[in-house]
Subunit: 373 residues, 2 copies
């Protein structure tokens, strides 16, 4: 029996990607693997819309967050962290851990960052070395207006580093890295890329490479310079998750054939379908509609319903796996992932299951819910 | 056509392990994955012969080296690094990167560390916080007498931390962690475990946990405390390489059924077969026989032969992939891996291929070679 895995990563993988995962090992320092590493880096550059170096790391996305901090900053540097949820907070935590003086510019959960406020914060303090920002906040289902934020930042500080957590957005929603002049931008294989977790992918600008020359936070495993010098010979400095590279090679072929515009249109369509469907059930979205994410939708657990019990019923009785809330939103929201290898039918099946489960979990449409129907 | 992958990792994987790699994704925070995480940690404890906590990290083995340093030491701490080759040097490099004052106690390549000299170094300086040591040096094919080293260390310094790179030994050759009273011991999925790369596994002693309480090197991605707190709920703090966990779960079932003594005997048999076969070809081993590794054999490239050309001929014409030398041994040795999922027939096929390739690569048995025949 097939499970409808509707968490925002790991996302389901197509059959040919899974088959690639089961390929026998090869020499990670041999010519065949060098071709794969080269193809992956080139393919990612196209889908990242960048001429910057694109490095791959064997780690979770959190390793990429850490890498962005440790490769570009020094203890005592100051950074402005634009946060709209849990992953913004994590980015800040990591920077603080490594001795960076972090100023938080936080926006209410469910809302996006205001570019004008970001510019204002930068104007008020010229000592910032970097702006850290989450493109798509997976914990709240909000996509920041990153292009506008970047423009506002550059107007005040043309030289500042812009470090972007694009884990659940890059490759799924528009993010033209070079056009928006972003410095370190990263994602993970288990998101829109339709590949199992184990690889993080990072685009590094000239400005970021210059910063790396003087950045004093110690680094070894996540050192970009080592990664780049090995990439030049079609390798990674440390033994990579070889199978995930096989899988990424196959997935990129599919994604490049589909084309970036089609991929973005598909995610926009599925995002809309999810939001419309959820509202039609009488439920409320956490995110403001105009900034709602096309990769993940966060939904308020309605009055009278136990969020954990609803998710459990969805999983055990309707074979549909939803994500819960994180941090202070635990039990208050559930989340539906719609990124990567997902079709209209998967979303419709999820909505149909919710329609059956909700009344059994104690939901009776009324008030806001009913009027939104 | 089947390739005989004879590098010391990634090692070939059995069919059922590869099939597990192609399983569809599941929720890494759900009940099914929690069972897998729990089973893996328990299985590893048995094969590690330890009651210590066993954590899993999504990284290459080098990430585990880094984790051992950053979780137990502070900038300014002093450590004695017992090195017999490239990976000993890497361990020291990492410690230096994070501000540890490293004293090198290096032994010639091809030889093992002398426990008496380790004890002497510790007696000469009571300021060391840790001893760092490689159990099996993959770059030279030497296994250190770790039990004797640990005993010598404990006689001088019962309290000191012993950090062990056991990447290419643990699970393949005897390494009773608790009996030898070792503090941080780690390996990687792509070695004797017959699993693709992507997971590092670390055993952490009470003494190491105590050290972690005061260790001041900053850490986030590789933080043991976070890993332990998530392990207690059957999770990892960051999205794990889910497929590698599926594969490890299957491989551990096979390894536990085989039993540790049989696994060790198998590796001893294959090591001996490789060394005897290589000598019968008229070649010389890098390692002294009494410390030669049962997981990887390093062989001097004979006079008149181009090491790179030999490896290329073996690969392209005999479908046998050997490893070259590293660092100053590049071009001077080749290496044969015989750990994990490898049978007598694989070693014999490798030796047969060498017998055919060597004369074509310019080798004529004479001198030491001929007399060793």
């Amino acid at each position: 029996m097939s499970v409808n895995l509707r968490i925002p990563g790991p996302t389901p993988c197509p059959d040919d990607v899974l088959q690639a995962m089961s390929r026998q090992m090869i020499n990670h320092r041999g010519p065949e693997f060098a071709e794969i590493v080269g193809r992956i880096s080139d393919g990612l550059k196209q889908l990242f819309e960048t001429k910057n170096d694109v490095l791959t790391l064997t780690s979770a996305g959190t390793g990429a967050l850490e890498s962005a901090v440790v490769n570009t900053l020094s203890p005592g540097d100051r950074a402005l962290c634009v946060s709209i949820g849990n992953f913004g907070e994590r980015f800040a935590d990591i920077a603080r851990t490594y001795g960076v003086g972090v100023e938080m510019l936080a926006f209410a959960k469910g809302t996006a960052a205001d570019p004008a406020k970001v510019a204002e914060a930068l104007r008020g303090d010229s000592s910032y070395k970097a702006v850290m920002v989450t493109h798509n906040e997976t914990s709240t289902g909000v996509t920041n207006p990153l292009g506008e934020i970047a423009q506002a930042v550059r107007e005040v500080r043309p030289d500042i580093l812009i470090l972007v957590d694009a884990i659940s957005s890059l490759g799924s929603v528009p993010l033209p890295i070079d056009t928006w002049d972003l410095d370190v931008v990263f994602t993970g294989s288990q998101k829109g890329w339709m590949v199992p977790p184990g690889m993080a992918m990072v685009a590094v600008s000239k400005r970021a490479w210059d910063a790396a020359e003087t950045a004093k936070i110690p680094r070894y495993y996540f050192d970009y310079k080592k990664a780049k010098s090995y990439l030049e010979k079609g390798q990674t400095p440390w033994t990579p998750a070889v199978s995930v590279y096989f899988a990424m090679d196959v997935a990129l072929r599919t994604l490049l054939a589909e084309g970036l515009e089609n991929i973005h249109a598909r995610h926009a369509r599925l995002g809309q379908l999810t939001r419309d469907g959820v509202r039609a059930l009488g439920l409320r979205l956490l995110a403001d509609e105009q900034v709602a994410s096309n990769t993940v939708t966060a939904v308020w657990v309605p009055e009278g319903v136990d969020g954990a019990a609803l998710n459990k019923m969805m999983r055990t009785e309707y074979h549909t796996v939803l994500a819960g809330g994180q941090g202070e939103l635990t039990g208050k929201i559930f989340r539906i992932g719609h990124l990567g290898y997902v079709k209209e039918a998967d979303i419709q099946a999820c909505l149909d299951a919710l329609k059956m489960a909700l009344p059994r979990a104690g939901f009776s449409p009324s008030g806001v819910g009913a009027s939104a129907r």
